[in-house]
Amino acid sequence: MIIANSPTILSVQGLRASINGTEILKGIDLTVRSGEIHAIMGLNGSGKSTFAKVLAGHSAYEVTGGSIQFEDKNLLELPPEERARAGLFLAFQYPIEIPGVANTQFLRLAYNTVQTQRGKEELDPLEFDDFVREKMKLLEMKPDFLDRSVNEGFSGGEKKRNEILQMALLEPRLSILDETDSGLDIDALKIVANGVNRITNKDNATILVTHYQRLLDYIVPDFVHVMQAGRIVMTGGKELALELETRGYDWITANKQPAAGVSA
């Protein structure tokens, strides 16, 4: 929801980043305020995941210009774990498998780390078990998820649910969901979207990265941005997603404004 005068959570200016010497992000500007849901759409390869990973601090990318302000912090000065502890969350497009590490153990360590950061009590294994089971109901997940190794042998849909479960546990200030809809059938999509909607509120913000309109039927964005070749080339309201759905991306060129443009 767009709230007048709500505080800025994320402010990205002129962000440029490269990997192995190839520039992928070529000057991104984006402002996200508390309560808002932003969608970033764009064709495969346009740089959406790169942007998400650069925000989270992946060490493979080199930031070559611009700034990222996250609440009162200069994000570029923080290692990824401190960004996470500060309340930045990334639901991965391709969640990583960690053989041998039980999901429950991983979730609890992540949860307790973030709790400690917030000056709150840690949960012991039994307390955590009760707590996580409640959250799992929200996403209609089977209890045996907890005992399996992190993401190992999970189906695509299970992996995505596991990401949103972590979002539910960690209660981030800013969540970036990278293609959370891909690999989900329509029922799973509804469950996940419903989960996300229960988590979002006026005190946090969400960036949905997707290249389908489908997800946006269930999680309604306040802003839609179009990414092309490492830049945000157009910004509009939720109607823009529908327009992209029918017209594709070809009609957009860097300097064009959408029919019903809203400036972010």
């Binding site: 990973k53 989270a56 290692p79 990583i96 960690i98 053989p99 590490v101 039980a102 153990q105 972590q166």
Partner: protein, 478 residues
């Protein structure tokens, strides 16, 4: 490798200190005279001297093995002192009389002996540079008829048992290093669990090499009679030295009908510095004979130290329905080299063996799993399951697997699984995106990887092993 990971991997060796106790050192070199000297020093009976001399003769005809996948400068066996003992000031009647310096050493190692003995119910047969200084809890064990003492003591108190069993599993000429050990061994542990007795506590020995330039030749013999069972813990750390120290131990286990021997090791000998200078050469022969029906021999090892590890704890499954197990974690970092594994020799009917080997390789180190499963023609219905997993940290290290499978009975079932994985940058990023730093992430991944082995360790050892691993290497990128 990022700077933070680099520093985590390269933590200095915690147990690197030398205790200053006056030592009684034999002149360097190996010859018949030295062997006679050792035997005389230890006041040994004639038969043991002939055992040694026979081994020495064998050794002279043998040559150092070269098939293993480790590389080190030639050892000059004449440049080693084969005997060193702390000078006993007087006979010790209790722990209170043990040299306080020695006690402090154990404190530094985190092994407060008295506490360990009293609180944890562990009897510690303290071995300090080849000679037993103190033996505790002997009485409690004696009540149930268990003999747990140094092997040199047992030579005098129970010569018939030593004479019967010493060299019965590992013959004097078994291999080059076993022959050397048989010729010059100075001390070690002896355990005898009589018929029907379940040992009421874990038996534990803490080894420690102390005198620079003196080889350490431990000799351990454990016998479980019919229906007996015992769990034995061996842990070792060594002070930090620049020159390489040769360590060639022999351990023999014998399990009679329905007996059960579980032998657990956490090995943390000095591994050399980050440039591969110094460190222990560890050439160990460990073998268990599951002699009786339904007997079981189980080896669990966590190998983290030594510049060179050459070690294949093995089981000879002679009794029908006998069981052999080998659970191993081998960690190498910097320039460490390990060639380790097991041999499972199935002779009896319906014998079963399980091999679980986890190799973790970091830095410039090299690790090989070498395992033999042999099913003899007599081993009707024998089964083996082997699982060998390697984890690589960084891209300068090497992991190798050499399984040898020899099946001479068609009814046998042998399964072998192997995998190689890497701790990748993406895994660490995933953890860090959840607020978990690299150190904790690696520790969690490694402990997950080693879970099947750690589960086999006695509780307190498992905790120690977990800490040791986290300490030894907390990560790197693929």
């Amino acid at each position: 490798m990022s700077a933070v990971l680099q520093s985590l991997v390269n933590q200095p060796y915690k147990h690197g200190f030398v205790t200053d106790i006056e030592s009684d050192i034999a002149p360097k070199g190996l010859n018949e005279e030295i062997i006679r000297l050792i035997s005389t020093k230890k006041n040994e009976p004639e038969w043991l001297l002939s055992f040694r001399l026979k081994a020495y003769e064998k050794w002279l005809t043998m040559s150092e093995p070269e098939w293993q996948n480790v590389h080190y400068p030639k050892i000059d066996f004449q440049d080693i002192s084969y005997y060193s003992a702390p000078k006993p000031k007087k006979k010790l009647a209790s722990m209170d009389e043990v040299d306080p310096e020695l006690l402090r050493t154990f404190e530094k190692l985190g092994v407060p002996m008295h506490e360990r003995a009293a609180l944890a119910g562990v009897a510690v047969d303290v071995i300090f540079d080849s000679v037993s200084v103190a033996t505790t809890y002997k009485q409690k064990l004696a009540e149930v008829g268990i003999i747990f003492c140094s092997i040199s003591e047992a030579v005098h108190t129970h010569p018939e048992l030593i004479q019967k069993y010493l060299g019965s599993v590992v013959p004097v000429g078994d291999n080059y290093f076993a022959a050397l050990n048989s010729a010059v061994f100075t001390d070690g542990s002896f355990c005898f669990i009589p018929k029907g007795v379940k040992c009421p506590m874990d038996l534990s020995t803490y080894f420690r090499t102390n005198t620079e330039g003196s080889g350490q030749f431990e000799r351990t013999l454990i016998i479980a009679e019919e229906g007996a069972s015992v769990s034995y813990l061996e842990g070792c750390t060594a002070p930090r030295f620049d020159t390489n120290q040769l360590h060639a131990a022999v351990v023999e286990l014998i399990a009679l009908d329905n007996a059960d021997i579980k032998y657990s090791t956490v090995q943390n000998w000095y591994a050399g510095d980050e440039n591969g200078v110094g460190g222990i050469y560890n050439f160990v022969t460990k073998r268990g004979l599951a002699k009786g029906v339904n007997s079981r021999i189980s080896w669990t090892q966590v190998e983290t130290g030594s510049a060179i590890t050459w070690k294949y704890p093995s089981c000879i499954l002679r009794g029908d329905n006998s069981v052999g197990e080998f659970y191993s974690v081998a960690v190498t970092n910097n320039y460490q080299q390990a060639d380790t594994g097991t041999k499972m020799i199935h002779i009896g009917k319906n014998t079963r063996s399980t091999i679980v080997s986890k190799g973790i390789t970091a830095g410039h180190s090299n690790s090989s799993y070498r395992g033999l499963v042999r099913i003899a023609p007599t081993a009707e219905g024998a089964r083996n399951y082997s699982q060998c997993d390697s984890m690589l940290i960084g891209d300068q290290c090497g992991a190798h697997t050499f399984p040898y499978i020899q099946v001479h009975n068609n009814s046998a079932k042998v399964e072998h699984e192997a995998s190689t994985s890497k701790i990748g940058e993406d895994q660490l990023f995933y953890f860090s995106q959840r607020g978990i730093d690299a150190e904790e992430a690696v520790s969690m991944i490694i402990n997950g990887f080693c879970k099947d082995v750690f589960q086999q360790l006695p509780m307190e050892f498992a905790v120690e092993a977990t800490k040791l691993l986290s300490f030894k290497l907390e990560g790197s990128v693929g």
